[in-house]
Symmetry: C2
Subunit: 137 residues, 2 copies
DNA sequence: TCATTCTGTAATTATTAATATTACAGTTTT
DNA sequence: AAAACTGTAATATTAATAATTACAGAATGA
């Protein structure tokens, strides 16, 4: 996974939670995060496919939450961002198959990755977007 | 953090656990992982500073475990590799300070990163190198 | 003692991944 | 019909990783 994207998604969602249903443009959001608007729209595509936000095209359009912030868990956000990988990503190494350890390491390390990923999901499942965004003054 | 490095460290330690105290050269280790020997030596430096391995210079030198594999937890390995960051790394963004959310996001997201990191540490703390390496045939 | 085989580390280059930018068709509003 | 958006693709730029080269210093052993 790419660390920065989780943070970007949480930032977007926090802004939307604060916007109280009013559509926000990718340009406004990008200005708060200080990244490119196209990246914001790409990230919003992920969040939309995961059912957390909705978009409205055209003038005065933008993005808004698809459900109440209390019903959006940070674990969902994490899951949407990391897609089908785990915290540690996917092993992209191609170890030596002639070595017993090299031959089996990917299989066994995936088990570890899964354990770590499950632990993250459980911990982030305890925090809702509402709780997170309410921390802000 | 960099995902691949955790896997590299676990691979190195698994090889050493199997080597039964006999020093292994960085070249042999690198051949199993299929990466450059210099990268292996760099990673070993991290593991050595964390007290998990020892090195012997000179001819017939190499690297070996500094303690029993039962006493090396995967959480230690993870901690050594990720250094002073968390799973999600360090926020390197510089959000807009003129925005209330932008101004506070780094501070609040760090709290989330910490929670996720603690969860990983706890889950990996339950697995020793001995248990992990015994999975291999 | 001296060639050999290692480590440790720095410096440089090459490769890959992440991010930014440009562009534009399509949608909605006024 | 102009304006202000989204969605998405294509390309360029920048940053992060990894490989390579290089070499001093340590231990071994013929």
């Amino acid at each position: 996974m790419n660390n920065a994207r989780f943070q970007i998604s949480v930032h977007i969602l926090t802004l939307l939670a604060k916007a109280d249903g009013k559509p926000m443009s990718s340009e406004i959001i990008a200005a708060s995060i200080n990244i490119n608007p196209v990246l914001v729209r790409k990230e919003i595509t992920i969040l939309r496919k995961a059912g957390m936000v909705q978009s409205k095209e055209g003038k005065n359009g933008g993005c808004f939450l698809a459900k109440n912030a209390q019903n959006i868990l940070l674990s969902e956000v994490y899951k949407a961002v990391r897609q089908d990988a785990t915290v540690f990503g996917k092993s992209k190494n191609t170890p030596n198959p002639a070595c017993p350890v090299g031959r089996q390491i990917n299989q066994h390390i995936e088990g570890i990755f899964q354990i770590a990923d499950d632990a993250i999901l459980e911990s982030l499942g305890k925090i809702s977007l509402a709780e997170f965004s309410n921390q802000f003054e």
